[in-house]
Assembly symmetry: C4
Homo-oligomer: 287 residues x 4
């Protein structure tokens, strides 16, 4: 299979690509080799730790005590991610493609806020964009069938997206009507139902069976209406479940091929795909 | 197919129907043409905006600030809907049929409250009837298969309506019994369980797993009984889900034909229907 | 079919049974005839109204206002139910059988408390046993297929009762362990976790996703553990649903024959049953 | 079948094994005989009572009143379990194997804390490990098909463990993102959202539809975002249900053979297993 693509690959592979650069490419973008796998795991650990740092930093008691530790950790992660970002640009065949791809932008925006804080304070929290990088976690499990299983679920949800939309619109109309009715019933005696938007917030809290209790009806009539919306929510929850279950059971296994494009770093190609579906570069590398 | 109905159509079509009126009819009632589709989308936007206005108006802080804006917006929408209502009467073959149909009444009652407020203050909130007009939203997606998907769900629910009713009666009997038991157990120590209706309200809040917490048992025995009703609710929720899922999986696609009757504006006919199932007018128009 | 049983029926039918008594029997116990159906509906209305009376009586404000009305209503219902009870005894072939059957006892215990209150005050609330009589409501819908649908659900639950028991024991062991862990973690700082039984109550409130909020963890570690039990509850709810759904889908329609035994008033016989499964009396009456 | 194993059994059976010891082995480890079954039931009752004692002891009012009763009960259970533990060691062929097995360790750790309390106070609560012994409860129901049903559920969960993991990771990423967003939106006005970890705790409480209400959004924007996460949770709960249902429906009955290994007391062998899968000892005993 690989031989078929050899000629085209040679044609399109950038000239200045040393074998060192090719190896580095394999380590960073693929996880077939032992080094590639190790790099992916290291990266995941760094991302998780950097997110944990970001979170713990917001706890006032920790911040007071470990202010310096947080500062050091944060810049360690930022510098690591910056180096990684430039290595990705260096080793991909077509940097421009990579930089404008979804993960390319996520990679960029997850290091930018650290530098921006030096100029404008308060940009700090934007670093949470790093959480999106966690979606790369599925690459590590590539050799296992995690991706396949995830795709199965995703397909089932995709297939039933119209049913789910119709269902959601129905829920929203119900919420609209019940929110207004409750506003009319409770507004005079219950200061929590002081506007229709708040009543609708209450209706959603109730129909989804979350039930915070920060807003709850106090008149007998209000409680009776609340009872109806609860029973509705209890029965209606059967609908999305039925939709997804029947869709999951009719689904065949459709596996996606998990090699990343050497040119633009696009992921998740079809198993029979020969060319990248984003930039058209051949997926099999002759090296 | 259209040719078959030509003669009957000509017979029953009102005489004074100019081609302008016919065009207008198509724009307002159908969404096959580009203009018809545009009109439907415009109408949806107007309805959503008018509902949003109605809601935001009830927020005290907004009302204080934007009182005039709300007044202007509200009358704009009312006038638009009034014109639309009269155009519908003008372009439908049989206005009497349309005016007594479900959507005809909804259309009327969604403009009436604005005018009534001029005479009797406080009728205002009745305008929420406009929310029901949102059900027309599914017409816009006609060309897609949203209607079909919605009908699939509806059929599944319809098919299992007897099972769901039996289930609901069972839940209500349980709620009755648990409500009374909790009243007997908690009434002396917990002022929240001061009557059986309130205890039943609590039982429904609990069995549906909503759990506001505005009323909760305080005696050990009460908490033990609460525990039983919770576990019951947790297991019993499986029943409606099972019902809807098995019904959804056995369902075949049954598509409804979505042309509206030119005579009485009735919607949602069967795909093979040749005549309106409300007034008997032929559904296919020779124009 | 009826002819086959004629001889045996004549043999076992009590001698003093006038045709008036037979008619009365049909009206009270069956709902095939118009009068029988009317009687059943009247009975349901009386039961529902008597339960409603009993409930509203416990609302302090109503009781203060309508004390006399409640008293009159209550005795009206009691006298009606007493007459009905004696008519049932009079018209059934074997009163002893009827009086010791489930519904016979329910019928008796739903009138006794009213009379007992005359001797011992406070027995009043026992009247709620009347709620169990509501289960007769399904008889009214006999001609429809409600019973069949109810049996389908019941069969599905019965078939999977072992799975549900294993599942419930698993839940209880989890609740045990999480309850103890939370008690150890929170007892020093949170007065709501002051004993293991209360912690277990909290664990059940959480795992069933009811979530009152009357008891909630306050330490970070406690909140972390709570998070685990919540996610478990969220995923585990899939198990009973899966069990009931798969059982419902494999179920065939098994219809029960709904004639009540003329001898002992036993209900719910199998469709092919020729004799009562409680007293052996033939089910088909030659009259 | 038993004859086939006779020779090997004789070879490996320890020499000093009297027929009394063999009988005792059968009573303690098996539940095929009447005595074995009685012993298992007695053991269960003792475990449940000892757990109940442990729990009620933590209720301050009970502890004050029944301090001595608790002390006596606790030592009764401890001594019973100690004797039982040594009998197990005495009657198993290979004590070393049993003592290092899962249940062997649970048995040991459920009696150790009582003795440790004599030296170090406060070790008391560790006795809750006894709850794990409850898992032996399924042995009692051996003759019934409870084990099979439990295995069916377990298999279904095992088969779909990858799907459930992918789903859980997805939920956690969502929780991460929503937790941060809510922290940014609410931190200035709502002291309950004072750190990202607490916001994430709130997000999990909400997405699982538990909804304590100890933390709830107070700004309109925060409530709007909360609304989205609730609707997501409401629809997403369909995914694990769909996974487990479809897996349960494709599952065939796979029965495990429930004889315990006479050598090391390992449980739950496959139905066709001839040798223990932990120590290799033949499962059929010639006695």
């Amino acid at each position: 299979m690989k031989d078929i693509f050899r000629k085209e690959d040679l044609k399109r592979k950038p000239e200045g690509f040393s074998s060192f650069r090719s190896r580095l490419h394999e380590i960073i973008f693929e996880s077939e080799t032992r080094e590639g796998r190790l790099f992916d795991i290291l990266l995941m650990v760094m991302i998780i730790m950097s997110i944990a740092t970001l979170m713990l930093e917001t706890v006032p008691s920790y911040y007071a005590k470990y202010r310096e530790v947080f500062l050091i950790l944060e810049w360690t992660f930022t510098i690591f991610f910056t180096i990684e970002y430039f290595l990705r640009i260096y080793t991909v065949y077509s940097p421009r493609y990579y930089m404008t791809s979804f993960f390319g932008l996520v990679d960029l925006f997850s290091i930018l806020p650290s530098y921006l804080t030096l100029l404008v304070p308060g940009m700090h929290s934007l670093m949470i964009i790093r959480a999106l990088r966690l979606m790369r976690i599925f690459r590590i499990f590539k050799l296992d069938s995690f991706i396949d299983q995830g795709n199965l679920i995703l397909n089932a949800l995709m297939e039933s997206r119209k049913k789910i939309m119709v269902f959601t619109i129905f829920i929203l109309i119900m919420v609209c009507i019940f929110g207004c009715v409750m506003y009319l019933v409770e507004r005079d005696v219950n200061e929590n139902f002081d506007s229709i938007p708040r009543s609708m917030y209450w209706a959603i809290v109730t129909i989804t069976t979350v039930g915070y209790g920060d807003i709850s009806p106090s008149t007998p009539l209000g409680q009776f209406i609340a009872t109806i919306i609860m029973l509705m929510g209890y029965v209606i929850i059967a609908v999305p479940t039925g939709i997804v279950t029947s869709s999951l059971m009719q689904n065949k296994k459709t596996a996606l091929y998990n090699i990343s494009c050497p040119n633009c770093a696009q992921d998740g190609h079809d198993k029979e795909a020969k060319y990248c579906d984003r930039c058209g570069f051949p997926l099999y590398d002759p090296e």
